[in-house]
């Protein structure tokens, strides 16, 4: 029995540490096209103190550690590139505080978005958070570690823009807090200093997020999805611009996909609105359709596909269903909203080349400040050729994002390299320095953002 395993058992107890193959198996895969990569140990701490001890141990032994939340990122980001210890954070899932009137909640970062949604629904029905469209097991920490976005991205931006305070275990095992919680006991603001943007979006390579204060927002009583459809992709940016001018939508997404046929070569803009009364809803529908979008309807080039359809949260992609075998992975890019037409056309081309029904989606972030555009590629897990096609398509899409001057969102290792090849040398140098300073032994999710 190895000394590392014994040390882990000592920290968390025998039930929560393992080096058994059958348990490591689960941690060697994710849902995407990545080849399996095996950790040597898996450990599931319950407290920050336990986590600190694990990190110290890893530092001492110079063993890699990979933080794992829901493992839903698909791009192999929580697979151990260099073996070592996978730290499963799902047991760190307490809700520490909800401040209803100041609209924030403090949680442990291993909590799932699904748990937050159901907790708020039950105890604070007038509040909501921005829930990503991922399966509900996705965690808050994992989502912040990749700069995720949820169903309030249009009014409020990235989920990482909605952070009011952060606690992190640094690669050397110390704790650091940022935001008002670092000065007093309140978790009500991230700004002004101390606020160091060194942990959000870094795939856990600079530290492990343990506590988060998340902004909450008004949850209105009625919520509905309205669909507007256009045939010409060139219209999409303007449709989004018109709707965002109103500033009334909660979530604003444009999609197109080959399957089902009703969506093929058409662009559906999903406009989520909410209100506390039928009058409020009708007011919003009126301004959306009868005012902002009426020019499209009158000229016959845009139409209301549906209104008042209730929509459950979160909305999870069904495109893994397009091929037998239930696999899909996507490239996400952050691009200007005006890139939608090109992203769609080029994506459909790539899909066509790889015999995959195309599926694209663009979610507006902020007031049309940018868009998360995703190209999904379905594959059959049991058919190597379809997996290869999907993998090649993903790589081609990463290159496409670079070509059109986008940035790849949550890039896999291949995409990270493309990004670093083009990165401003000053920024790259600074990232290197920061990484060296924070993680002198290079144990944090190595392989990811390998700037050194």
């Amino acid at each position: 029995m190895s000394s590392i395993y014994q040390a882990l058992v000592k920290i968390v107890g025998a039930d929560y540490a393992s080096d058994r193959k059958e348990e490591l198996f689960t941690y060697s895969k994710d849902l995407g096209t990545s080849e399996p990569l095996w950790p040597e140990y898996v450990v599931a701490p319950k407290t920050t103190e336990e986590l600190q001890e694990i990190v110290r141990l890893a530092n001492e032994k110079k063993v890699a550690i990979v933080p794992l939340g829901g493992g839903m990122t698909l791009a192999g980001l929580a697979l151990p590139q260099q073996g070592g210890i996978t730290i499963d954070l799902k047991r760190m899932d307490r809700i520490i505080e909800v401040n209803e009137q100041s609209r924030y909640m403090v949680v442990e970062a291993g909590i799932s978005h699904g748990k937050i949604t159901s907790y708020l629904h039950k105890h604070h029905p007038n509040l909501m958070h921005s829930e990503p469209g991922a399966p509900p097991a996705a965690t808050v920490g994992g989502n912040l570690a990749i700069h995720g976005q949820g169903d309030l991205a249009h009014p409020y931006g990235f989920n990482s823009d909605m952070v009011n305070g952060l606690e992190v275990v640094l690669p050397t095992g110390e704790i650091a807090r940022f935001g008002s919680c670092a000065v007093g006991s309140g978790w009500f603001t991230m700004h002004p200093l101390p606020d160091i943007g060194l942990f959000l979006g870094w795939n856990g390579t600079t530290g492990i997020i343990t506590k988060v204060s998340m902004k909450l927002y008004p949850n209105k009583k009625i919520r509905e999805n309205n669909l507007f459809v256009v045939e010409k992709e060139e219209f999409v940016p303007d449709v989004l611009f018109e709707i965002s001018h109103l500033g009334m939508a909660e979530d604003l997404i444009a999609t197109s996909s080959e399957i089902p046929p009703m969506m093929n070569r058409l662009h559906y803009v999903s406009i989520m609105i909410s209100g506390d009364s039928e009058e409020e809803m009708e007011f919003k529908r009126h301004l959306t359709f009868d005012v902002q979008l009426s020019k499209y309807i009158r000229s016959g080039v845009g139409g209301i596909a549906s209104v008042s359809q209730e929509r459950s949260r979160p909305q999870v992609s069904k495109s893994s269903d397009w091929k037998k075998g239930g696999g899909f992975e996507y490239v996400g890019a952050i691009v200007p909203v005006t890139s939608y037409p090109e992203c769609y056309r080029r994506g459909a081309e790539i899909s066509g080349r790889h015999d995959i029904p195309y599926t694209v989606l663009g979610r507006v972030i902020g007031s049309c400040h940018s868009m998360m555009f995703s190209w999904s590629y379905a594959f059959n897990r049991a058919d190597d050729l379809t997996v290869k096609h999907a993998r090649d398509a993903l790589h081609e899409t990463d290159e496409l994002v670079m070509e059109i001057n986008g940035t790849i969102w949550k890039p896999a290792i291949f995409g990270q390299k493309l990004m670093m090849d083009r990165m401003d040398p000053g920024a790259l140098r600074l990232m290197k320095e920061v990484k060296k300073l924070l993680d002198p032994n290079g144990i944090m999710n190595p392989g990811n953002w390998e700037v050194i």
Binding site: P261, N264, I304
Partner: protein, 346 residues
Amino acid sequence: MYELKFDPDLCLACDSNACLVKCQHMDIDQETARTEILKLCDGESSFVLQDCVTCYACEEYCPNGNHPFYLIVQKQEEFNLLPLPDPLVKSGIQVGIPFRGEPEIQEITGTALNMGVFSQLASRVEGRLFENLTIMSGDSRKMFHYFCQLMYLHYGKTSVINERLDKIIQTIAAHKVKEVVHFHDECFGTYTSYAPAFGIEVPFKSIHLFEYLYNKLLELRDDIKPLGYKVAYQRPCSSRLSPDKHPFVAKIFDLIGVEAADREYVDENAMCCGATILGQKKEGSRKYCAEIQKKNIDDMKKAGAQICVFNCPACMQTLGMPVSKQGIMPLFLSDLCRLAIGENAA
């Protein structure tokens, strides 16, 4: 290609012009009605083509069995005056394309129950009322092979119906079925009204769901416990193609002991659910749709309806939630019948 059997002489001799005079969505006096329908007969355009919301009702209003609605739709296509914006037309046309492989065709002895494109509602057709029927199109992946296509009347696209319908008829016929009960009366209307009007041959006999339910309830009469509710019926647009079957609603109500709510929008004056009007390109369509839906539901409330029964799943999808928000329970008529014989509604 198939041609509409429309007799202009009937219109020339017509002394009511009821098709357009009775239209709920246009205010037309008889003289104008006569002028406009004759224009259409002569192959000319008319404002009717732009203002028609495609509610199907003139098919029923015409006392002479001419087909004014089919004529209007055909002319909308001819003059490129489609009621819906282009992307909705494209998406609508694509909806009907099967994309999950071919259906498995098995021979059906006895009477079949055709679910059309509502395979997901198979749980609604369980219990004693349906026990002797064999379900056809029970697999939602294959259901578009059974799609009657009549929906394209709302799109001003008889060409699409005429292009695809024959194949659908062949698929149903391949089951070697003699008699088919249609879950959706749009299918019934397709095979008993549209197809004959265009000279399309249908090699099976169609039975309307309500007629079937009525006869079945007669058989189970001893098990019926009168329900005692006050019920409104949301007539679907396609029921205008089979007005002779409409009386079965009242007959069923009598049998199961419910009272028809005394409404303004009833029978010939029924109000459409508005689903198709919502997206039409004519200015103000969305508002108009909301307005008629409100009038319709207010009318149900005023008449004291406790339940609103539906035949058409699209009407249910459109009005089910709004009526329930007004305290009226939405139910398929078949479910109401199941309640009457002591079964649970799906």
